[in-house]
Symmetry: C2
Subunit: 354 residues, 2 copies
């Protein structure tokens, strides 16, 4: 039995894995694999449509918002967002809360002025900044809702009169938010949504078409919208697997039900970190991520033995990122609470052995 | 039994399908799915490396050429190529031999001057232009080696002193070429290489770094090269399936063996089109594609009945593209010769019934 705490690509629901594997052999008794199926066939266009409709339904979006499944990863969105929303002389506001925010900022600077309105970089990103103001004239305000590497998360989405753009790669669908208030949301699929190789973009179409320059064809969200997210051959299998995960999410009670479970999982693990004499976390209590729990050992010489100990028991993926060290347990939607309980038990028995 | 003549995504080797399906359940007895596996794990980095090495080996490339597996489809290459190779005041030469060439030309115009040195557009792209010259000062010369929609193919790669850039999406690995002479080759995977969702780029690294502008991070080939094709999370499953297909190709005898088989398959079908009283093809004989065989019926009222007839016998994917009409049978590497023989038999029995 493997307990998969990978940060991404990461655990997917067992039912999804089984259906995806079966479709690779034979898609719905068509006699051919989903990998061999034309993307313009009625079979696949209905998969794409179902995925897009499920996102709108689960996020409670209206007709202003369009859902796209694009190539390129969130890293491509770092350039695609400013290409679509920023003129060279305009400015955009960014919150700097981690490595991925910094990369988004670096890229935006190629296309216009960037105002970094807050940053926790000096504190090695262990918290989310509190006091900051977003200039009224910023074309948009960009946040990274959850910081996978440092284990922080915006518990409250900042109120702003600007267009709000969010990289939700590592916490999308994990908690209820008022998704309609966002101008643009993007998320690499490989955490809560599906396998690596596809990126979900949710965009309020009213914010598009305001820049003066020509946007390359593949970078212009409007082209993808008008073609129903099929401007070119989409990553068929990745979209199919996302659709299966979205179906699973709906059956499980949607985002609210998932949020409750995620809260339980995170509380279990943070309580143990706080209680257990061997462990601690540097992350500011108010900003603790419910998706990526980063922690260390007070005696760092015990980290290697602890890692070996949990590995022997089938726990994978809890080695921390090289930038934050220690451990990181990712508690994405598909991770069962039993895996968290098991990790907590291992932390307790390791404590007793010392 | 299904005979899959899809133009792309298209047929893959049965062994590849079976291994890919098994890896979705459990990758190499790791206890987790390939979809759940971190891309920085030794397991996946070795998959990526094997895929890159196999391409170099199969194409007989030296140390000047680098192999990348990127997101975005060939359509993204339409912009990425000029971003990397063209200054705004420089010019690039393009051959216009079909819809995909035209799209590449349209995109290049956003980044510099474009000289369309030849075009068969007026003849509805039924041939490959013969007489043309490429200006010496063009930064590069771009061709589409095989035209999926119109069924034409460059039988001989034009000799040029310019850097040669080729979109080989629909005929890569189907025939022996002197791949070392190309400056850059790109190919969407979903024909001869793997499933949709990944694009192979082979680039001579000596042609890079000559433009004066800053290239966005995800668009700069040099960044992908320095990160071993893992600049951001790659499309893990698609790369894995490509690697399996490349292994299969090597076992089958490599590109030369495949070319021989592809020649046999194409000869069988074209001979029948030429012999059979009911069928014909508009494609210039000298330029007939060995990958995508486009044909029509002399009496167009028989096309629907013929399509129904072959469908009843398990033939899928031979309806022609809306721009060229009639039929298109795609004979990619993984299509067995038995499927071509079967289609020929159906053409013969349909003829006898008239």
């Amino acid at each position: 039995m493997v307990h998969n705490f990978n940060a991404g690509p990461s655990i997917l629901p067992k039912e999804v894995i089984e259906q995806a594997s079966a479709a690779v052999i034979d898609y719905n008794n068509s006699g051919i694999s989903i990998l061999e199926m034309g993307h313009r066939t009625p079979e696949f266009t209905s998969v794409m449509e179902e995925a897009r409709v499920l996102v709108k339904e689960l996020m409670d979006l209206g007709s202003d918002h369009e859902v796209l499944f694009l190539h390129g990863g969130a890293s491509t969105q770092f350039m695609q967002v400013p290409m679509n929303l920023l003129n060279p002389k305009d400015s955009a506001a960014y919150a700097d809360t981690g490595v991925w925010s910094s990369k988004a900022i670096k890229e935006a600077k190629l296309f216009g002025k960037v105002d970094v309105v807050c940053s926790s970089k000096e504190r090695n990103y262990i918290d989310i900044p509190n006091d900051f103001a977003v200039p009224n004239d910023a074309n948009y305000f960009h946040i990274t809702t959850n910081n996978t590497i440092f284990g922080t998360q915006w518990q409250t989405i900042p109120k702003t009169s600007n267009i709000l753009v969010a990289d939700m790669s590592s916490d999308v669908f994990s908690r209820q938010l008022d998704f309609k208030t966002f101008g643009l949301i993007y998320a690499g699929a490989q955490k809560n949504l599906g396998p690596a190789g596809v990126t979900m973009v949710v965009v309020n179409k009213n914010i598009l078409g305001k820049v003066k320059h020509t946007i390359p064809t593949m970078m212009d969200y409007r082209n993808h919208i008008s073609e129903g997210s099929m401007l070119n051959t989409p990553p068929v299998f990745a979209v199919y697997t996302c659709m299966l995960t979205l179906r699973w999410l709906k059956v499980k009670g949607g985002i609210s039900a998932m949020e409750q479970l995620n809260n339980e999982k995170a509380t279990l693990l943070y309580n143990e970190i706080d209680r257990n004499e061997l462990f601690s976390t540097q992350v500011a209590k108010k900003d603790r991520s419910k998706m990526n729990v980063c922690f260390t050992m007070k005696d760092s010489s015990l980290e290697k033995p602890f890692l070996d100990f949990v590995k022997q028991h089938g726990v994978v993926g809890i080695k921390g990122h090289r930038l934050s060290g220690g451990f990181r347990a990712s508690l994405y939607n598909a991770l069962p609470i039993s895996s968290v309980k098991f990790l907590v038990e291992l932390m307790q028995s390791f404590e007793q052995k010392q």
